[in-house]
Symmetry: C2
Subunit: 459 residues, 2 copies
């Protein structure tokens, strides 16, 4: 069986695959910070070289932001599907740097009580995950001499910074990018052990709010009590966004939120989600969201308003009795069902404007803006992939939701008319977006093997 | 008249005096940030050298923090008062650095539409002010051959960071420091033009509050909605500290706040404070404090709760969908009348503890803690000084209040049993504690002349 030969090849060449991941993870391709633009380009170039070496026709295509990597390969015999694989090569910022046990961009394989992990920024999100697919292609090519069927690889460099160039690029290159089915590797296992296909994703609206008061920083002795304090104004605004039941107070916020269909609710109940473990692993015990919802609903099927950053005045060592001229916060909303990003953004801005006292003005910086996506799983490819995952992991694969936002899944449908299948191997404790990010060697290894099995069924 | 000779000498040697101020202002003696400890020592050493050159027995005396400069000089004929002069050689931090038009520690004399100013961190607060007194002594010495009467100079290096070593040092050296009257140069002119003796100062209590939630930063996709967000908790805490009338909500906060004596209220009314100009100069128009108080009351005779800094999550360029593990704020209270710093600190901490939701904990870092001071002006020295100031400035000098906190005035009374006279020449637009701090050349020049006149009457 050639599948066995591919799987054996994957097992035998795992050390080299890990070395390639370490090499890619050494490039600090932080997309949100313009300082690292050159590194994003380097990561794109690295991938182009690697894909070209595998026989793909690969290029890094310029955008107003960071480049898109597009690669076409294989031809197939016309019987299989034309698949498009999506991943992203950009990574999250690394602060607070002092909480990292080592340089985030000097990744290494570490022994831990739970097994070997590959430690470093981006090893899980998403460099490790995207390489599971490329490494599966590499082993396939070594055994078969060709790539698995007709294949397009599409790698983005702005996923962690709101994907501003993504939709325009997809629109401009729609004919080139259109395939039969999209595969996306940017999600996780269910409860760290059950292979999963993610079929519900939340949308995201981000807003940076800057409150301006006096025309310069003031001395709190000379002006304290009389002058407007933008931190006080901002605190009041943020504090008013949730009621004491944990619900978001913006007018109309829940208007387009659907209750879960009974079938989905029943399937989720079957997953027997361990709420106590989920919170306990990060040192928490009481769900902080809507009082009448379970944690699984809170993270998969309910919308949120979260504060991702706040800054104003003196935050250094010691104390400074300053009344700052401005204060700022980064606020984000996770959207579900039919919630409209533009409507939520407008409601938020109207609320903030309505809270502004005399002498204060507000400045908004929008970030992202994508609706939730709910996948159609009618295509038999979904059941084929679920079978392949079940075989590799020895546990029945599940259809699950996800609290994160991967707008690309919705765009494949809305812009290119393709369904998307989200399969990933990350674990909850991968600390993506946090210090000390890691990817289990096992996720990487079985992830590569999983794609080989899926490609064997679909290509 | 020897006073005229001294004043002439001051006029003739002003350029050299300015050069000395520029030299001292080049030393970045930021006391709150441990990085600059060596520079605080350098500033102290510079002053010791300068005072020694004037004939003082001067030394930089070690403390657990930054050194105290103590200098004794002159003998007098026994007829005058033994005066002690106090100032501070440490300065505020300089951030946000990008708002400075030039290096804050490369001071320069600039022409402005309002006249010449000396621009740089500390040129007003308090290096320029303390040098007005030392320069007056220098001119006096040049004319008389001796220092003006029996004189002690006492310069602190921790005023901008809560003066942790001050009281212990005063207690340990009480016999050495005790004099007949303390002179303090760290206050301002009234409305930028009327010479003033400050007789009421607010106290200060500072608290840094750190709210901890999860045991690490989390991804707002994976945990948003379910996990406690410390920024949200902190915003709620801060937002609850003022009611919609602008009053501070801490239980008992106003218990020890006295209404102004009728005589003081009448005198303040006589000052015809220009509220619109006061706020208008910093781009504001509506007082933000207690609804039923005038701005002059808000800054001189009413207590406040202000937020001086806030930080949490991602504050860099772009966006990061993080749920931070912690968030922090620097909160300060200005105290008046008989308010007890310890009582206010305890009330604040109890309030914060009462607001903490499940899974969150709080950490407090105290900063400062001094009661308000109200000066006794029975000593005829006050009227002598007021006469000298009136003569120099050609405008009747006023007794005023001050919103700032200069705890040293209270300590001279409580620790050493001395009255203190606060006279300074700063202007409201000096931007002390802000970017682009400056001291008017006129403040410096007439400040030196003012002290010469006062010393002529008191020494």
């Amino acid at each position: 069986m050639t599948l066995d030969a591919v799987l054996n090849r994957i097992d035998a060449t795992l050390p080299e695959a890990v070395d390639r991941l370490l090499e890619l993870a050494r490039i600090p391709s932080i997309s949100t910070d313009p300082t690292y633009a050159g590194d994003c380009q380097r990561a794109a170039d690295w991938l182009v070289r690697d894909l070209a070496a595998l026989g793909f026709q690969a290029s890094a295509r310029p955008t107003p932001g960071h480049p898109m990597v597009v690669a076409h390969g294989g031809a197939g015999d016309g019987s299989g599907r034309h698949l498009l694989f999506y991943g992203h090569y950009d990574v999250q910022p690394v602060d607070p740097l002092n909480l990292w046990a080592r340089d985030p961009f000097d990744p290494v394989v570490e022994e831990t009580p739970k097994g070997k992990v590959i430690r470093g920024r981006g090893t899980s999100d998403d460099k490790g995950q995207l390489l599971t697919f490329i490494e599966a292609c590499r082993a396939w090519k070594a055994v078969h001499g060709t790539l698995p069927g007709k294949l397009t690889i599409f790698l983005e460099g702005e996923e962690e910074s709101g994907s501003p160039s993504l939709v325009p690029f997809m629109r401009e290159n729609a004919d080139e990018l259109k395939a039969d089915l999209a595969l996306i590797c940017d999600t996780g296992l269910y409860e760290d052990r059950v292979p999963a296909i993610t079929t519900m994703l939340r949308g995201l609206v981000g807003e940076e709010v800057v409150i301006h008061a006096a025309n310069k920083d003031l001395h709190s002795g000379s002006y304290g009590g009389a002058a407007a304090n933008p931190i006080r104004v901002l605190a009041k605004i943020l504090a008013g966004l949730h009621d004491d039941q944990g619900r978001v107070t913006l007018p109309g916020f829940y208007d387009d939120v659907d209750e879960l269909p009974e079938a989905v609710r029943a399937q989720w109940q079957g997953l027997a989600f361990d709420h106590a473990r989920f919170l306990g692993e990060v040192g928490l015990s009481v769900p902080a969201g809507e009082r009448d919802r379970t944690p699984l609903e809170m993270i998969w099927s309910r919308p949120t308003c979260e504060f991702n950053g706040i800054a104003g005045g003196y935050a250094g060592a010691g104390f400074k009795t300053v009344l700052p001229a401005e204060a700022r916060a980064k606020v984000s909303f996770r959207l579900v069902s039919r919630m409209d990003p533009a409507k939520i953004r407008a409601a938020f801005r109207a609320y903030v404007e309505s809270c502004l006292p005399a002498d204060c003005r507000v400045e908004f910086h929008p970030h992202g803006g994508s609706p939730a996506s709910v996948m159609q799983i009618a295509d038999p490819a979904f059941e084929e992939a679920r079978g392949a995952l079940t075989e590799e992991w020895g546990v029945s694969a599940a259809y699950i939701g996800s609290g994160g936002s991967i707008p690309i899944a919705g765009y494949f449908k809305s812009v290119l008319g393709m369904d998307a299948m989200l399969i990933g191997f990350a674990k909850d404790d991968d600390q993506i977006h946090s210090p000390n990010e890691k990817y289990d060697l096992d996720s990487f290894h079985k992830g590569i093997r999983s794609w080989a099995r899926i490609l064997d069924r679909l290509a």
